[in-house]
């Protein structure tokens, strides 16, 4: 049990903190509107220019070869500095791990540096109108044509899809195969003829989602990531990332709990006992999430893989996030109905228990795989 950082890690933290303090932009508009997205891209390119965009990646792709520990430290400092949400996150946190694991050398060299530089902006193409948490029900299909695949169908709930340049997704390449079998992971430039993207509003009204329609869209064979028919297992690797520690680093919740604490101090005059207890709760849970993650990273570093444990992470951070924002709204009282960072954060938090497999599904995974309760 060693909870101290090495001098090298402390130095890394100091460097990150210094750079962030000097560079974090203030008052950026929402990255889920077209103007906001453009403003965010500037920030992403500045991160890349100073090699902070993808710290854990190899240097040749713009990273710093940072360890998992350093990545955690960077994330802590990133959120602590009040830096904005990463509009590139679906690429760098969801697709990139899959490209590192399953991509060919050509795919890696083609995609990763451009993704890091925020030149290629990737959206996720998994959900369909009939396939939400039940991903295996995907019906969008890709038929083999000479030298490539012809795609028809529809994806939806693609985050920031209206502003992305590329989409990664699962498509049914063997219509005979049932459910999990016969799916292939494809990479699709959104300027390919036959693609139509229509943005639509999330709960907060911003155009944070898109539907993507495919009408005889032809992509080359090189668009396949990880082998024809292997889509399910390739995608599951990414699902692990989304639910696991990469997407929701503890730094984010530590920073939010600290903002909440400051809000409570500022509004001492309306700090009721229940709101005060909510601040304590947010702090306790954010720290518990951090400590749980430190234990998990220790396991990872020592070669023990978390597996179904990532469902615990997802349940914990998503419910913590909602409780934290509910307390903020309680503190704001009648002002809670005004548009602002807390009311927007609250609405955003409500997506946590829904995406990447609903929390109901996660609880069943925990019960079946960690507790060993019988399936139906």
């Amino acid at each position: 049990m060693d909870l101290t950082w090495s001098p090298a890690e402390e130095a890394f933290r100091a460097e990150a903190r210094g750079w962030l303090e000097a560079n974090v932009p203030r008052g950026l508009p929402s990255g889920d509107t077209r103007e906001g997205f453009t403003a965010h891209l500037e920030w992403e390119r500045k991160l890349f220019a100073d090699r902070w965009a993808v710290v854990s990646w190899p240097e040749r792709y713009g990273g710093r070869d940072a360890s998992l520990w350093e990545w955690l430290i960077f994330e802590e400092e990133y959120y602590r500095a009040g830096a904005p949400q990463r509009v590139t996150q679906n690429g760098i946190f969801l697709l990139a791990p899959t490209v590192f694991e399953f991509g060919t050398a050509e795919q890696q060299d083609e995609i990763l540096p451009r993704m890091a530089a925020a030149e290629q902006l990737w959206g996720q193409g998994w959900s369909e109108p009939g396939a939400g948490s039940d991903l295996a029900a995907i019906s969008s299909r890709a038929d083999k044509v000479d030298g490539g695949w012809r795609i028809n169908g529809q994806k939806t709930w693609t985050t920031r899809g209206a502003f992305c340049t590329h989409l990664f997704g699962l498509f049914r390449t063997d219509p005979e195969a049932s459910r999990h079998a016969g799916l292939t992971y494809l990479l699709v430039p959104l300027d390919t003829p036959g693609v139509t993207v229509r943005g639509f509003g999330r709960l907060d009204g911003d155009e944070g989602f898109a539907e993507v329609f495919f009408d005889d869209v032809v992509v080359p064979d090189s668009a396949v990531l990880g082998g024809v028919g292997q889509g399910w297992s390739v995608a599951m690797a990414t699902t692990g990332s989304e639910r696991g520690l990469t997407l929701r680093s503890p730094g984010r919740f530590l920073a939010a709990a600290e903002r909440l604490r400051r809000l409570a101090v500022e509004r001492a005059g309306s700090l009721t006992a229940s709101a005060r207890d909510g601040v304590v709760e947010a702090h306790l849970r954010a720290e518990a999430y951090q400590l749980f993650t430190l234990a998990q990273v220790t396991d990872l570093v020592e070669g023990r893989t978390p597996g179904a444990e990532s469902s615990l992470n997802k349940l914990y951070w998503s419910e913590l996030d909602i409780a934290l924002h509910e307390t903020a709204l309680e503190l704001l009282g009648p002002e809670a109905e005004l548009d602002g960072p807390w009311s927007r954060g609250h609405m955003f938090s409500l997506s946590g228990p829904i995406y990447a497999g609903t929390n109901e599904i996660q609880r069943s995974i925990v019960a079946e795989r960690l507790l060993g309760l019988p399936r139906r």
């Binding site: 959900s127 948490s133 709930w157 709960l203 009648p334 809670a336 005004l338 997506s351 609880r363």
Partner: protein, 346 residues
């Protein structure tokens, strides 16, 4: 003892429900989020006036329906169910009864009950006036005085709200006519507003629940309707449980208020506390039961969820309402728990 609405009350509520199903479908609520919805609002207000709802509490001799707070509850439930994007509760339950007792304000009263004027109210002193953008008159409080503000020509600083139909504005000291300095008037106005808001929340919960049940019965994942899964069933059963036990508390509050009983303050607070909690939990649960579909503004659910959020925290939040109940129970103030057993609380 007969704790159920009368046949007449049911009949009137059914009429309002049917009117609103036609006159205030989700498209009307949605339209009210933008300026293009103004005409629909005006038409809707007029229809409510034609039904006699706006002046419903006036005596029949004065052209009203002679309704009491008890009669208003089922009507306000319907207003909530439809998420009517207008200050119906404020006009019908707060302004009209207040002005009706004051012969000098006849023009405003007539304007309100005939649908020529729209009246809003805000007594919490939150600094934000809901429905300001679509109202002609506003009841506000300064200290313990009630004032009526003519909003015509007053420059309003409209603000963006989570529920985009609320047309709210910031209200630095508004000029207004003194209506009353009697704290009893103020308290009655507050209790009527809180009661009408609680009743609307009951209706809003039912609407959210209807949407969620319909979705869960139809939406298939993993080969079965999601509503056949225990997790979804049980979360929606809890929403029903909350709202079914909130309604009688709202009804009792109306009985006490109409009777002028001293318990009215505590009973209205109990009603608002339970309705606010039911609404907050319903909002979270029904969004979850809808999955990603509920998390968009394209689907209708959000119209009702956001109204519920707004109403849950106004006219007394759950916390504030519970404080009123605690007060009525004669509970001593809370003490801070000691930090360590031998150290006094700070």
């Amino acid at each position: 003892m007969r704790f159920a609405p009368t046949a007449q009350q049911v009949e009137l509520a059914t009429a309002v429900r049917e009117l609103l199903a036609d006159a205030c479908p989700p498209e009307t609520v949605r339209a009210a989020w933008g300026s293009e919805g103004e005409k629909a609002r005006v038409d809707l207000w007029r229809q409510l006036a034609d039904l006699g709802l706006l002046g419903a509490v006036l005596p029949e001799a004065d052209g009203g329906l002679g309704l009491t707070e008890v009669d208003l509850v089922p009507l306000m439930v319907e207003v909530g169910r439809a998420a009517v994007p207008l200050p119906v509760a404020e006009t019908v339950a707060v302004l009209v009864p207040l002005l009706a007792g004051r012969p000098g304000d006849g023009d405003d009263l007539t304007g309100l009950v005939t649908g020529n004027l729209v009246g809003t109210a805000e007594l919490a002193g939150s600094g934000v006036l809901p429905w300001a953008g679509c109202s002609d008159r506003a009841l506000v409080r300064s200290g313990s005085e009630l004032r009526l503000v003519d909003l015509t020509g007053v420059p309003l600083e409209l603000v963006t709200t989570v529920d985009g139909s609320r047309a709210a504005a910031r209200t630095p000291q508004l000029p207004g006519t003194l209506l009353s300095t009697d704290p009893a008037d103020l308290e009655r106005a507050w209790l009527r507003g809180a009661l009408a808001t609680a009743a609307q929340l009951v209706g809003l919960v039912h609407r959210q629940l209807d949407l969620a049940v319909a979705h869960a019965a139809a939406r298939k994942q993993f080969g079965v309707p999601i509503g056949s899964q225990q997790a979804v069933k049980h979360m929606l059963a809890d929403v029903l449980l909350d709202v079914r036990f909130a309604l009688p508390v709202v009804q009792r509050a109306a009985v006490s208020l109409a009777a002028g009983a001293p318990e009215a303050r505590a009973h209205v607070a109990a009603a608002k506390a339970m309705a606010s909690r039911a609404a907050d939990r319903a909002a979270r649960t029904t969004i979850q039961a809808h999955g990603a579909i509920g998390y968009t503004v394209e689907y209708d659910l959000h119209l009702y969820v956001k109204r519920a959020w707004a109403l849950a925290d106004t006219w007394g939040s759950e916390t504030h309402s519970r404080a009123v109940v605690a007060d009525s129970l004669g509970l001593p103030p809370a003490v801070d728990p000691s930090v360590l057993p031998w150290e006094a609380a700070r």
